[in-house]
């Protein structure tokens, strides 16, 4: 394989490269002369590097390394440039860039401005203490932070998940480990303390101690009096924001569950209107499911807690074959116990399988699951009609919401490869929370 292919073929087939979800080869090809777009499939962070690599026809890894090195050498300014590019360059297949949406997001602008002003105040304080090397990092930091706030508020859902996972460790918000959060806070505090002590010490040699300190104290208090209430409001807004987001996610979860079960059943009932027995059976089954979800808190179509991944795949196979009369060829390699993440993976796999059965027109659908120490991958493949992924309207519920967003909410990745006449393959990858591999 010529080295020039690397950008398009990264992942999957190279020894050691096993990130199925992130970067499999696309069936579409890149035409020179098209406007620069951020890559949807190949991205590590915002897809800027992958988009750029495709545009100039270079290896994506090289571009990434150049960006990281430039960011370090320029004292962070290149990182800021990256975030600005993220804001300004539209994602492939999207209508506009994030900046366009962000301009109409007044609260987001206020948040970004508040954050920026905080850092600028810190910079002024630092210059008072004459610790110049620190302040050089603050401008890019202000830009990066403000940009990420705007992206977080205005990007697609799966991009938001990406920003969250980037930012979380720094804010110490991770619920998984309080200890990590504490260590990060402690490190930051120690660095600040050391900087402060050093600054005070250098000031002490020159002038009397009290005069500059009093001046600084006065300055700080004046700023707090001036801007304090505003910052407080911003902090409150952030909390409200988080709660609203949690509620929105819950709503999305309910919507996708109702779609998976109730709407699917209604569609089936319409199709089999001439077979009363089947209609009754379908309605009964749906009623049971809905009741158990509403009153016992057990989600419909959910897979029992004691079940393993292979068992879940078998269940999907049986259910889909029974309901839709299309053969599902299920193959699993390895097995492990289910947790919430993997249950979400199975729900997405089920949805993808049902989609393939309903829309592809293929007589057999392949369902392959592989459990590896670090991640679990599921592939749903049919050799049916296929479609042009770029031509699907963004509001089409099934694939967009039930599969992609459901995976993104749990930190997984979903990829769809399809072309008219070539069939469709949906690949789903979920990282494993606990690397406890149980063997059959």
């Amino acid at each position: 394989m010529p080295p020039g292919h690397a950008a398009r073929t990264e992942g999957g087939q190279w020894p050691g490269h096993r990130h199925f979800g992130r970067g499999p080869r696309r069936w579409g090809r890149w035409h020179h002369g098209e406007p620069l777009r951020r890559a949807r499939e190949d991205r590590l962070v915002g897809g800027v590097a992958a988009g750029l690599a495709q545009r100039i026809g270079r290896d994506v890894t090289t571009v990434r390394i150049i960006i990281v090195v430039a960011a370090v050498l320029s004292g962070g300014f290149f990182a800021a440039a990256y975030v600005v590019a993220w804001l300004l360059i539209p994602m492939e297949g999207a209508q506009g860039n994030i900046a366009g949406k962000a301009l109409t997001d007044r609260r987001g602008l206020a948040l970004a401005a508040g954050y920026g002003s905080l850092l600028i105040i810190v910079r002024i304080l630092i210059s008072v203490f004459r610790v110049g090397w620190l302040s050089s990092f603050l401008w890019p930091l202000a830009l990066v932070g403000a940009g990420l706030i705007l992206i977080w508020r205005n990007a697609d859902e799966d991009e938001q998940a990406m920003v969250r996972s980037l930012v979380q460790p720094f804010l110490g918000l991770t619920t998984k480990s309080r200890w990590t959060g504490f260590v990060i806070r402690l490190t930051v505090a120690v660095i600040l303390l050391a900087g402060g002590v050093a600054a005070l010490h250098s000031a002490h040699e020159n002038i009397a101690l009290l005069t500059p300190l009093a001046g600084v104290a006065l300055l700080i208090s004046s700023i707090v009096v001036l801007l304090g209430p505003w910052w407080l409001r911003i902090a409150r807004d952030l909390v409200v924001e988080r709660q609203a987001r949690v509620r929105a996610e819950e709503r999305a979860d309910i919507a996708s569950r109702v779609h998976d079960s109730v709407l699917q059943t209604l569609a089936l009932i319409q199709r089999r209107a001439d077979q009363p027995q089947q209609v009754i059976a379908l309605a009964r089954a749906q009623e049971r499911e809905l009741r158990s979800w509403l009153f016992d808190g057990r989600p419909p179509g959910s897979i029992g807690e004691a079940m393993t991944l292979a068992g879940g795949i078998r269940l999907i196979q049986q259910e889909v074959e029974a309901q839709h009369g299309v053969a599902v060829e299920a193959v699993t390699v390895g097995d492990c116990a289910l947790d919430e993440d993997l249950a979400a993976l199975l729900a997405a796999a089920r949805e993808a399988t049902v989609n393939a059965v309903k829309w592809s027109g293929a007589t057999v659908v392949s369902l392959f699951a592989e459990v590896e120490p670090a991640e679990v991958s599921v592939f749903v493949r049919d050799r049916g009609k296929g479609f042009d992924p770029a031509a699907v309207p963004a509001d089409r519920k099934g694939l967009a919401e039930s599969v992609r967003a459901r995976m993104a909410r749990r930190g997984g990745i979903a990829n769809v490869r399809s072309a008219p006449g070539e069939g469709t393959e949906v690949s789903l990858t979920m990282p494993r929370a606990a690397a406890t591999r149980s063997q059959a």
Partner: protein, 220 residues
């Protein structure tokens, strides 16, 4: 098989209905030279008709498909076996392959695909269904390399190369050889070579888990 002659096929299955089903699905593409429903008559009639390919059910009343394969291996080494079955435990399938079958397909296979599989086996290639690919990946991944009680004679036989794993994984995902070749930027011939090499490892490896499966079927 020589030239474009139709492969001569023999069907061994204990269900008469299934035998006639396969016969009609194969149609005129192959020449069905005989049928048998049990181990003993199968061995006799295969020896008499000397077919190119035997379609063999994994589960047979008189001792399982691998008994037929083992019996024919000495007297008629040119007869090739393709295991065909509805749903089986991995160890049964692996045992038939280790006995000498050139491939394994499930009964859900379409008529055209079955004809294609028969041709491949007749030409000396290996035929892996998605399920067999899954079994093999599992077998080579799950067990530790051969322990001290079964020292490996040839370490190369005990593990799959990265490329072989890639090929098996794509087979398990439902890709045809042609699609795999395009996906991996290799020729179809190379895909066939990889699959044959996996088959060889499967049959010759002394890897503990594989050997144990075979021993349990008294074949080692």
């Amino acid at each position: 098989m020589t030239g474009d002659a139709r492969p001569r096929v023999f069907i061994v299955d204990d269900h008469g209905l299934f035998r006639s089903g396969v016969r009609s699905e194969l149609g005129d593409e192959v020449e069905v030279v005989g049928e048998a429903e049990d181990v003993a008559p199968a061995i006799d009639r295969i020896a008499a008709t000397a077919p190119d390919v035997v379609l063999l059910d994994v589960h047979l009343p008189g001792g399982g498909g691998q008994v037929v394969v083992t019996a024919m291996k000495q007297s008629h080494p040119q007869v090739r076996f393709l295991a065909l079955s509805a749903s089986d435990a991995p160890e049964d399938v692996i045992a038939v392959i280790r006995a000498g079958a050139r491939g394994y397909v499930t009964k859900t296979i379409s008529g055209a695909e079955l004809v294609d599989a028969v041709r491949r086996v007749a030409a000396g290639d290996a035929v892996f269904s998605p399920r067999l690919a899954g079994f093999v990946l599992d077998a080579f991944a799950s067990a530790a390399p051969p322990g001290p009680q079964a020292p490996s004679l040839d370490p190369e036989l005990d593990q799959l190369t990265l490329r072989e794993r890639e090929v098996l994984r794509l087979i398990a995902r439902g890709y045809t050889y042609k699609e795999i070749a395009r996906e991996l930027f290799i020729s179809i011939k190379t895909v066939e070579t990889h699959v044959s090499s996996v088959l060889r490892k499967l049959q010759l490896s002394t890897r503990h888990q594989l050997a144990r499966w075979a021993t349990e079927r008294r074949l080692a």
